[in-house]
Amino acid sequence: MMNQASGLESLSELVRTSAMSGVARRVLLLRTDELPPSLSKPEQLKRAGHAVAPLEGADRSQRYDLPGGRIVMCWKGESAKLVEQTMDGLDRILRENPIDAPSLQTLAQLFSLPTEGEALLSAASAGLELPSNEPVPAPTDEAEPVAAPLQPLLPAELDRLEQSLSGTDISRFARRRPVSYFNGHSAQLAWEERTLSIPELIDTVAPGRDARSDVWLFRRLTRVLDRRMLSILSEPQELRTAGPFSITLNVASVLSPEFLRFDASLPLALRSRVVISFLPADIASDAAAFAFARNFARGRSYRICLRAVSNALLPTLDLAALDLDFVQLIWSADLTLPALPSSGKTRWILGQPLTSDGIKWGVDQGIALFTMKPTV
């Protein structure tokens, strides 16, 4: 079996040959290392690898396994249906965690040889620390026990899950993720994102179930979790010594009794230092309710963020009319920033899945906030 470092060499050879002969090839680069931890469980990585299987049926198909778990598929002709099947398979994996997932274009890029040979090699090796002469060991599939595939969550089970959550202490699933100011040299903590580790929580209260298998049922579940999270944050000791933080809520949650209790318990020192994030679907679901919740929260001195905005969605938003304090972008190599509203109020946050390329790009674009750890 070819080792991964030699896979990169073989790919270079293919690009050279194609350039010299002028023979056209289509190439798909799968960067599984772009998947966030929540989508990088062994069975998920394995499924990502299997997702390219349809392309093995294409004319003159060749597979290259690269370091970092990256895979390159090369074939002759268009094979649009096979590409679509592959993309469908990958997309299903991404939809298991739509909040943290990279865009499909980030995970899987298409190239045409010979014209895009350099771009292909650059993307295939970007961010890899390649050993000078030490061979990279071949992947050891057999070392990882194969977990049983998760079953989708059904409405009736969600009903039971919601009931069981009401009596479960979920504080141990609370997590913090730093957002930092970064100027290209040093990073300083701006605030912490307060979240719940939903995969761990579901694994505990509904083992074997995939809470993200349906985007709408998952959104429903987050409403229940919003309230539990707000209750945790309302505990007297929870925020006594806390620094600034952000929390992602559904619009309906901002109007809930739990939010009012949270608001009443918020220490004076944290007023104006808490960011409330919403997701884009909330705008399309009920734009009037979104505007009401935004104004209500801002009236209580919270700052407002729209999070998980992809490059594809960005052009559809009227940022001036949305009147936001922050827009948290999903980093992808094709990210293009529009002009910010002239009010000067709105600022970008460059979010996960963040690579060193992404951070460099963000700094070059003048972005100052990143979902990254502060420099120690």
Binding site: E162, V215, W216, D286, P315, T316, L317
Partner: protein
């Protein structure tokens, strides 16, 4: 009715934890007519319909209202109770729905082009097939409201869409009455679809059936689907285009128009929801409508003459709604030889039926399904 009243008078509808509904109005007499209508509505079945309704004026009746609410555990905003009725309703509906009887949950409605050249003319453009909210609610029965939670409702529709896609494909292939008027280059057939349905192999089968029968199809995808997963939306859009179908961005409210740039989503037509709130002057909205091109807008839920007039003033020419249904039915009755045995309401209901059972009583199916209508005698 309560939803409509809340929308019309800027009120707010609350679902109480015991299933009661509370409608809050700003000062005025808005509730008086509604209460009388509700009493009449229940008069046939309820021993004392007056007991079904209570009215309080604030602040005079504050103590009475408080006493009433104290008898109930919690008053919460729609969909915000810890366990609202949505999950139970959706679960009950899934259990009740059988794929072979999906047509009983469907309805159809005709969209038109209003031309202003010469005498006003109404030209049928498309026929939309969709799930009937009333039928869904009836099937969920006492389990609750299927629309109580917008996200649960999207989940429900996404699943049911797969059934509808299969039913529609079968109807095209077998030339069933539901699709009368849309085969062989007649009216466009508008099919509602989730992204999941648009990406499925069932969509490919619909495309093949449409090609075989020369049916012209528009796919309606709700705006919320695009905002939930923009990457998937754009891939679905490409599939729609490759199939030779038109894309309609559905369920766009004027509130959403004011904070988004939907043109970036690349639709053929945008379905704007009519609301009486649009009657209030709004220069910003008018300029947004001009910018996105009113000829690309279909004003849906156009249930009143006000709605059509509002659209026409702004350059909108495509309409769909109960007022349009009435105009079309009046046009049919004016020329139908069997009109003496019919009524406007019956003609509207039969045209909207998606099953043969719902059309029973009509003696002129050709006219009922016609894509040509003469409304000049309807007035």
């Amino acid at each position: 009715m309560l939803d409509d009243a809340a929308s019309q008078h800027q009120g707010q509808l609350f679902t109480l934890i015991n299933g009661d509904l509370a409608l809050l109005f700003p000062p005025g007499d808005h509730g008086v007519g509604l209460a009388a209508t509700l009493v009449n509505l229940f008069a046939a079945d309820a021993p004392d319909p007056g007991l079904l309704l209570s009215r309080w004026l604030m602040p005079e009746h504050f103590a009475e209202l408080t006493a009433f609410l104290d008898a109930i555990p919690t008053l919460a905003a729609p969909g915000t109770t810890e366990r609202d009725s949505g999950l139970a309703a959706v679960t009950a509906l899934f259990n009740a729905v059988e794929a072979r009887r999906i047509r009983e949950l469907l309805e159809r409605q005709t969209g038109v082009l209003v031309t202003l050249s010469g005498s006003e003319r109404v030209v049928p453009l498309f026929r939309e097939i969709r799930f009937s909210l009333a039928a869904l609610e009836a099937r969920a029965a006492a389990s609750g409201h299927v629309t109580a939670d917008p996200f649960l409702f999207r989940h429900l529709i996404a699943k049911l869409d797969m059934f509808m896609l299969a039913a529609t494909t079968g109807d095209i292939d077998h030339d069933r009455p539901m699709l009368a008027g849309v085969r062989s280059g007649g009216m466009f057939l508008h099919v509602n679809m989730s992204l999941e349905a648009a990406m499925s192999s069932a969509f490919d089968r619909l495309a093949e059936a449409a090609a075989r029968s020369s049916a012209r199809i528009s796919v309606e995808i709700a705006m919320i689907e695009a905002f939930a997963d923009a990457d998937l939306f754009f891939r679905a859009r490409e599939r729609v285009r490759q199939a030779g179908f038109r894309l309609v961005l559905d369920d766009v409210t004027h509130h959403a128009l004011l904070v988004t740039k939907p043109a970036a989503l690349g639709y053929d037509y945008l379905k704007l929801d009519w609301s009486r709130q649009l009657l209030q002057s709004n220069d910003t909205l008018d300029s947004v409508i001009r910018a996105i091109d009113p000829s690309k807008i279909i004003l849906q839920k156009a249930d009143t003459e006000d709605a059509v007039r509002w659209g026409l003033v702004r350059g909108v020419r495509r309409f769909q709604g109960r007022h349009i249904d009435a105009i079309l039915a009046a046009g049919r009755l004016a020329v139908c030889p069997a009109a003496t045995d019919c009524s406007l309401r019956k003609c509207i209901e039969r045209e909207g039926a998606a099953t043969q059972a719902g059309r029973i009583g009509c003696r002129n199916f050709a006219l009922l399904d016609s894509s040509v209508v003469d409304t000049s005698q309807a007035a």
